[in-house]
């Protein structure tokens, strides 16, 4: 596979389980045992009630496009070659939204509300990046 020339995530203690599971093809999100709220991006406290009763749960990996843009200009290496690409916010079934790219389709076919599912691309031996594609 070609060398990865996009930015890579920096992994910290509080985000390591997320990236470990991405490598295995699983999308993790967090849920608070105290207030039962889901949250994204992952962090070491509950953003809602500030407890530290955070549990990792496996998300279904299914969601819908909440909003998106087809990017025609980005000077950053790795993206400059990929325009036009779709930058999107996907709302997961669990109710939290995450940034992603919509892949494996014509950028012009993407619409708000479109059902999508997670797919992983191996960037390095340590890191796989979750993307979303039109739901089967």
């Amino acid at each position: 596979m070609p060398e990865w020339n996009k930015p890579l995530p920096t992994i910290s203690g509080e985000t390591k389980p997320y990236w470990d599971h991405c490598r295995r093809g699983e999308l993790l999100i967090q849920k608070c045992d105290s207030c039962e709220e889901y949250q994204f991006y992952p962090r070491g406290i509950c953003a809602n009630c500030w407890s530290n009763d955070i549990q990792w749960v496996t998300a279904s990996g299914k969601g819908t496009v909440w909003t998106f843009t087809v990017t025609y200009q980005n000077g950053t290496p790795g993206f400059a070659e990929e325009v036009p690409y779709v930058l999107a916010l996907v709302e997961l079934e669990e109710g939290v939204r995450m940034f992603t790219n919509i892949v494996d389709c014509d950028p012009r076919s993407v619409s708000i509300g479109m059902p999508v599912e997670v797919t992983f691309v191996r960037a390095t031996d340590q890191i796989s990046v979750p993307y979303f594609k039109p739901a089967a």
Binding site: E14, Q39, F40, F68, T69, Y72, Q73, T76, I112
Partner: protein
């Protein structure tokens, strides 16, 4: 009891006219601006006891600026929350004046965004100048190719989806702003444009076209804010800080409705403190990083209902002579946008409130109360909003 509405005033201003200054440093532009703003006020270096600044460069701090200017301020504020930082500064200066900790401060800014070829809107990660991603939130965002324009375009896309807003309506904002720029000899772009010109131009990040995006220039400026006592002896009649409010908005752990921006939170404190209503606002300076920024801001400031911004900005309402003239200097869309633009909102509102353009088409008639709203950061991820309401006697 302190009369908050007549406690602090803008007494001096200067806008550095440069739009391209490869031979200057940012500190030099700020120094030149501070000196001229003080001269405008009829004050001297010895009168200044406060320094407020923000920068997109981590090295250009209040500390370095105080060193360059050889100042020993007793009130220092380096609040840096994006392009609208300067509305926060004015609010904080008011607080310090009321608390008796400050008599006279300069708020200043400069940037060489253009001559240093910073791709402010489309540079992706490189726009921060540090490609290493922080563990969060960057590592969950920047690996997807975020651009500044993209983060605003996503909000425009959903606004269109929910409310039927059109590219033509967004273009109305760019067209009105360019009309105002045509009257500003310092504006970068002065040739009038049409709605058709905008919607037929290149798409940068759908649905935003090139003229939906602000220009990139060098530039800078300074504002002198002073107590009522100092203001009484200045050259110009004071432009009072009648009210101020500040807020931040972010993703809210992945659940906040991003269609409401920080202006939704910051406007009520500002209007409440000023004791004025929307009908009292004679003109507004609305941070215009992109056309969608203006539309969302007008809605969330309460000038129209959520979703009605498309209609509100149409039909010439935003032009001088219309119901709510905005960005009468040509704004960031046409005049200048050196990385951050919040200080220029204060400068143009002050010029209008001084009736500096009397007997010319650029003057807003009977201009007594103006509103400035600065937005910094990105609507699609996280941003700040500072509202200030200014008025003349």
């Amino acid at each position: 009891m302190v009369d908050l509405k007549h406690a602090a005033a803008i007494v001096g201003i200067h806008e550095h006219v440069t739009r391209y200054a490869p031979d200057k440093s940012e500190l030099q532009i700020q120094g030149e601006s501070v000196i001229k703003a003080l001269a405008d006020a009829g004050l001297t270096k010895q009168d200044v006891d406060g320094l407020l600044t923000a920068s997109s460069s981590a090295r250009n701090t209040a500390l370095n600026l105080a060193d360059y200017l050889n100042m020993y301020p007793r009130f220092v504020d380096n609040t840096t929350v994006g392009g609208g930082s300067f509305e926060f500064h004015l609010s904080h200066a008011l607080n310090a004046i009321v608390a008796g900790r400050l008599n006279c401060a300069v708020i200043t800014y400069s940037s060489l965004a253009r001559s240093s070829s910073v791709s402010v809107g489309t540079g992706g990660v490189a726009r921060f100048g540090h490609p290493r991603l922080e563990p969060s939130p960057d590592s969950f965002e920047e690996l997807y190719g975020l651009t500044t324009v993209g983060l605003y375009a996503m909000i425009a896309q959903r606004h269109m989806h929910l409310y039927g807003t059109t590219s033509e309506q967004l273009a109305e904002i760019a067209v009105a702003t360019r009309y105002h720029a045509s009257m500003n000899p310092e504006a970068l772009f002065r040739n009038p444009i049409t709605v058709e010109d905008v919607v037929n131009s290149r798409v940068i990040s759908s649905p935003l076209h090139l003229p939906d995006c602000c220009v990139i220039t060098d530039g800078g400026g300074a504002v002198v804010v002073a107590s009522a006592e100092v203001a009484r002896n200045c050259r110009h009649q004071p432009v009072w800080v009648l009210g101020a409010g500040e807020a931040v908005a972010h993703q809210g752990a992945g659940k906040r409705d991003l269609m409401y921006i920080a202006a939704h939170q910051s406007h009520e404190p500002a209007f409440g403190m000023a004791g004025v209503t929307h009908q009292d606002i004679d003109m507004a300076m609305i941070y215009d990083s992109f056309t969608i920024t203006v539309l969302e801001t007008l809605e969330d400031l309460g000038f129209c209902k959520k979703g009605e911004g498309g209609d509100f900005v149409s039909g010439g309402r935003l032009r001088i002579g219309g119901e709510l003239p905005i960005n009468t200097d040509g704004g960031g869309l046409s005049s200048n946008h050196p990385g951050m633009r919040g200080i220029f909102l204060l400068l143009e509102a002050t010029r209008q409130l001084r009736h500096e353009f009397d007997r010319t088409p650029r003057q807003v008639a009977d201009c007594n109360i103006a509103l400035c709203h600065g937005t910094g950061g990105a609507l699609g991820s996280r941003h700040s909003g500072g509202t200030v309401i200014l008025g003349r006697d």
